[in-house]
């Protein structure tokens, strides 16, 4: 057949079809060029991103032990329900809130926050949706696998506080890093990611950097449903360093018992080795259970419990030892006596000042608890003569008191290794405010300040630190809780890209103690007074023990009007001490809130801790006590 012969130009039409076919194939070729050559790298990366996953391997956090190696904080493995962003990034998940709530018993408000938060994160992020998943939770998640591919069950370590409420303020707790914290540049710099567990409060927070390990990861290939197909790389995690604290668990237990059995069950007991500042006991009541924050922060019940901690009027989250500020009352007289000797307001040879049963400033009479004649310093301390100190303070002047504040570093925090320590407030702090409001600093305020009232509000830790000085020849140490961090070995070889160097052991970096200058005679004079408080018929005479001489000072912090029982606004009761008086091994301070006169509540609390100390370290002395009593 000769197509050219056709009237209808058939050859041309066949040609048209052929050209059309080539054009279509050419279009495909051009598109191929665009996808493979022009955008090849872009799509390669996309393919890579959708199949490579980094699954973090959480690093075990360092445990915390007491000074004798008894366990205080540990981690244990638990199952968590986690929520990953990738499957839900682009879809509306508001309809899932109800399902999650019913399926997992998770708080609604928490769910809303969680989903909103994760949607703002990059695709690969994963957050914990529920900790401590129960068997029911696990079954629910697994059976809804295809419906909610974003949910997974993961085995993760969880912080465990075996002693519950005991020393909760010292240990603190852990929790997810807050979105607010994450926004800080210095936090971002360290590579923190949403969902990271960090210390909150206490040693957990202060030493977070060392307790926290370095997480490892698994680099895996996943299929389109996110199921792991094979593993490309594993970088093992480096565990955090174990912390040996200075706490003595046995003494801590004794102190906690004393607080629990006190009248108001509110207060604090601190014990310290005056020779180096190691804190043996730090108890604050009421307390909280750190496990609540760690294990139940996602359930409605747990969240209610936690918000209760914040709204409770008794303030269980407050570490009274370092954050509570109380009028120190007569315990203030000890540093004041040292300062008076330093400044020459009194001398060793002539330290007598008239008591006078009180003092009259202008037309206002401020009384002393008794009439002590014209006592020397030791007797004034032993009997806690207020009249003596009214006149002493007037002699020193407010400048002398401020000098004392500076000498004993009451104008700054003690530097204890815990976060959010409060500084004591003294006339040095208040003077500018008073002068601004009242025009001048009147003598009556100096008089009140002399007995630790009015403008003096001290933290218990600062009182213990200052008073201990008398026992150790003026050496004032920084109180601290860290004894030692244990070393952790390196991960991998030095040349490898994922090498993590070892972490060395280290202890608390002691600064040289501040020396409070005293002559031995001056020191002896003050010490004699403190010895007398317990051993010479002083305000804490009931604490007297055979073969174990305690030096101390009672104090009563005026809450409403001094010495008046006004129901729940009763005075705070103080007792600060160390023993043995002339070669102290241990210093203890107790404060019982709103319990009344110092001697009657704080003194027995301190005694309970001394008993525990003796039982442990000098059992023969304690036996001697019982024989002596009989």
């Amino acid at each position: 057949m000769k197509l050219n012969d056709q009237a209808q130009n058939l050859g041309f039409r066949v040609g048209v079809i052929q050209v059309l076919a080539f054009i279509l194939l050419a279009i495909l070729g051009v598109r191929l060029y665009y996808l493979q050559i022009v955008k090849g790298e872009y799509y390669s990366e996309k393919a890579e991103n959708q199949r490579i996953r980094f699954i973090p391997i959480p690093a075990p956090r360092g445990a915390i032990f007491d000074r004798n190696g008894k366990l205080l904080v540990d981690s244990r493995p638990i199952y968590n329900v986690t929520l990953s962003n990738e499957p839900i990034k682009r879809i509306d998940v508001s309809d899932r809130i109800e399902d999650y709530m019913r399926g997992l018993n998770v708080d609604r408000q928490f769910l809303i926050e969680r989903l909103n938060f994760i949607k703002k994160q990059p695709e690969f992020e994963t957050l914990v949706l529920k900790e401590n998943a129960t068997i029911q939770d696990i079954v629910w998640v697994e059976s809804h696998n295809s419906e909610y591919p974003e949910l997974r069950i993961e085995l993760q370590p969880q912080r465990f506080y075996p002693h519950g409420k005991m020393m909760a303020h010292v240990l603190g707790y852990v929790g997810e890093i807050s979105p607010k914290q994450l926004e800080k540049p210095e936090v971002k710099e360290k590579g923190f990611r949403p969902g990271d567990i960090v210390g909150k409060g206490g040693l957990e927070q202060y030493y977070d950097e060392f307790l926290r390990g370095r997480p490892g990861h698994r680099k895996v290939v996943v299929d389109s449903r996110g199921r792991v197909q094979n593993e490309i790389e594993v970088v093992p995690p480096q565990a955090g360093q174990d912390l040996i604290s200075t706490i003595d668990l046995d003494l801590q237990i004794a102190a906690e018992e004393q607080l629990a059995n006190s009248v108001t069950k509110r207060g604090t007991i601190i014990s310290m080795d005056p020779n180096n500042g190691e804190i043996l006991v730090m108890a604050s009541a009421p307390s909280f259970d750190p496990n609540t924050f760690v294990t139940r922060s996602t359930t409605p019940e747990g969240r209610k419990e936690i918000s209760g901690y914040y709204t409770n009027e008794q303030r269980p989250l407050l570490n009274r030892a370092i954050q509570g500020r109380y009028h120190p009352g007569s315990t203030w007289k000890i540093p004041e006596s040292v300062a008076a000797l330093q400044q020459g307001a009194i001398t060793v040879a002539r330290s007598n000042i008239v008591c006078g049963g009180g003092i009259t400033i202008g037309n206002k009479h401020t009384r002393c608890m008794g009439n002590h004649g014209s006592p020397a310093l030791p007797y004034a301390i032993t009997k806690s003569c207020d009249g003596y100190y009214y006149r002493l303070a007037l002699k020193m002047g407010i400048e002398g008191l401020i000098k004392m504040v500076e000498e004993f570093e009451y104008d700054k925090p003690t530097g204890v290794d815990l976060p959010n320590e409060k500084a004591t407030r003294t006339p040095k702090y208040w003077k500018p405010y008073v002068e601004k409001r009242e025009g001048k600093w009147s003598d009556i305020r100096t008089v009140f300040a002399s007995i630790g009232q009015d403008t003096v509000e001290a933290t218990p830790i600062s009182m213990l630190r200052a008073v201990s000085v008398v026992g150790v020849e003026g050496k004032m140490f920084v109180p601290h809780l860290l004894k030692e961090f244990k070393p952790v070995s390196a991960i991998g070889e030095e040349a490898e890209p994922n090498f993590i160097p070892e972490r060395a052991s280290f202890g608390f970096s002691h600064a040289e103690p501040k020396i409070i200058e005293m002559t031995p005679q001056q020191n002896k004079l003050v010490l004699e007074g403190m010895w007398g408080v317990v051993n010479a018929g002083g305000t804490a005479a009931r604490l007297k023990m055979a073969n174990f001489e305690i030096a101390g000072k009672t104090g009563t912090a005026q809450v409403a009007a001094l010495g008046k029982d006004v129901g729940k606004n009763k005075d705070h009761s103080w007792f600060v001490s160390f023993a043995p008086a002339y070669k102290p091994e241990i210093a203890i301070i107790a404060l019982i809130e709103n319990s009344g006169f110092g001697a009657s509540h704080a003194v027995p609390a301190v005694k309970g801790v001394y008993d525990a100390y003796l039982l442990k370290n000098h059992p023969n002395i304690l036996e001697g006590q019982q024989i002596a009593k009989k």
């Binding site: 191929l32 390669s44 393919a47």
Partner: protein
């Protein structure tokens, strides 16, 4: 049967076309293996190739004119098959389409693939015997009728993708049967207006389903596709193709898009994406050139055809193949919506390979007998 072929005819056997077709199928077998290395699709395809090759030789060595004469008979058988497939118990339902008949030994087979051939023959018989001169309305109506009956049956399955591949057959036959150029132009203009209009009306009235809309929307904005929705097939296909870059992934088959199941239907509808990932731009362009060469050989055969009917058969096959290649690859490259049309000679499936080889057998037969007149 070989004995009856005259020596001269045997010399005119178009070895190149046959070899090209076999080569493309072999290349396809490799890609099917790449797509699903742990299944037997690739070995089944080799079996299919041998069956198809036998069919090709049988058809090529028979006299196409006698077959065209018998077109109404084959057409009738085709219609019966299309009805049978709709009968519950005989037809098999896969992915919501009742398009397969299960046969012992052979496995399943897809009538809608084969019925194309009787339709081509029927159209060639009708339009090949007409006298020269401008096409009349009555002839057009008959042509449409020949196409409409099997199409209606296919839409009952329903298999819109297969149905679409029938249109170019009629279009080519009418175009080559002296339809006036102005009607051609008119049809194109009307198409440009009515297709978007029909889509709009379809969306408004709900006749076009949500997933179909999604497949079209993703073409316009692939980045906005829901990763769990229908549009994602297109996105994954584009990623797979793009990832191939110049020369394809080398060795890393464990992590290929199809093995990790990111790419759906990798051995059938998306076989070209697998080819792109494994052999890159070089492999894809080579394949497209092979198709171009095959199509040109067919067109050359059409130009030399001994009669008008033979020419129409070849060109209808050319039209159908071109259309399928364009629709399938266009879908893979993300500028056409996802429609279940296999890539000729590449996609796994006995029916598709067999019907394409039978069609090519016709072409060879027609070329061999070009001087008989």
């Amino acid at each position: 049967m070989v004995a009856i072929i005259e020596k001269r005819n045997f010399r005119d056997f178009d070895w190149l076309v046959a070899l090209l077709a076999v080569a493309i199928v072999c290349f396809g077998v490799w890609q099917i293996y790449n797509a699903q290395p742990e299944t037997t699709y690739w070995s089944k395809q080799i079996t299919g190739l041998f069956i198809a090759l036998v069919a090709l030789i049988v058809v090529a060595t028979s006299d196409y004119r006698r077959i065209i004469d018998a077109a109404p008979f084959f057409y009738g058988i085709g219609l019966i098959l299309l009805i049978l497939v709709l009968v519950p118990g005989i037809g098999m339902r896969i992915n919501g389409q009742q398009a397969w008949i299960k046969l012992p030994l052979v496995g399943q087979f897809q009538p809608s693939e084969f019925v194309k051939i009787p339709v081509v023959l029927m159209l060639a018989k009708y339009f090949g015997s007409r006298k020269a001169g401008t096409l009349r309305l009555k002839e057009v109506i008959v042509g449409v009728g020949i196409l409409a009956v099997p199409l209606a049956l296919i839409m009952f399955e329903p298999d819109a993708g297969q149905a679409m591949t029938y249109f170019p057959i009629l279009a080519v036959v009418l175009f080559l049967s002296a339809v006036k150029i102005r009607y051609v132009a008119l049809t194109i203009v009307a198409g440009l207006i009515f297709v978007p209009l029909a889509y709009y009306i379809g969306v408004e009235t709900g006749k076009i389903k949500g997933y179909q809309q999604e497949r079209i929307k993703v073409i316009l904005d692939p980045e906005a596709a829901d990763p769990r929705g229908y549009g994602y097939h297109t996105v994954q296909s584009m990623i797979t193709v793009g990832k191939g870059s110049l020369t394809g992934i080398k060795g890393d088959t464990d992590n290929s898009q199809s093995v990790l199941k990111f790419l759906p239907e990798p051995h059938t509808d998306f076989i070209f994406a697998v080819t792109a990932e494994n052999t890159g731009f070089v492999g894809c362009i080579s394949l497209l050139l092979a198709y171009a060469l095959l199509l040109s050989r067919l067109v050359a055969g059409a130009k030399q055809a001994g009669d008008r009917a033979g020419m129409l058969v070849i060109m209808a096959i050319v039209g159908s193949l071109t259309f399928q290649i364009f629709i399938n690859v266009g879908m893979t490259l993300g500028f056409l919506p996802v429609i279940g049309v296999p890539l000729p000679l590449m996609s796994a499936g006995l029916s598709a390979v067999l019907s394409t080889f039978i069609a090519i057998g016709f072409v060879i037969s027609i070329k061999m007998r070009r001087f008989v007149n």
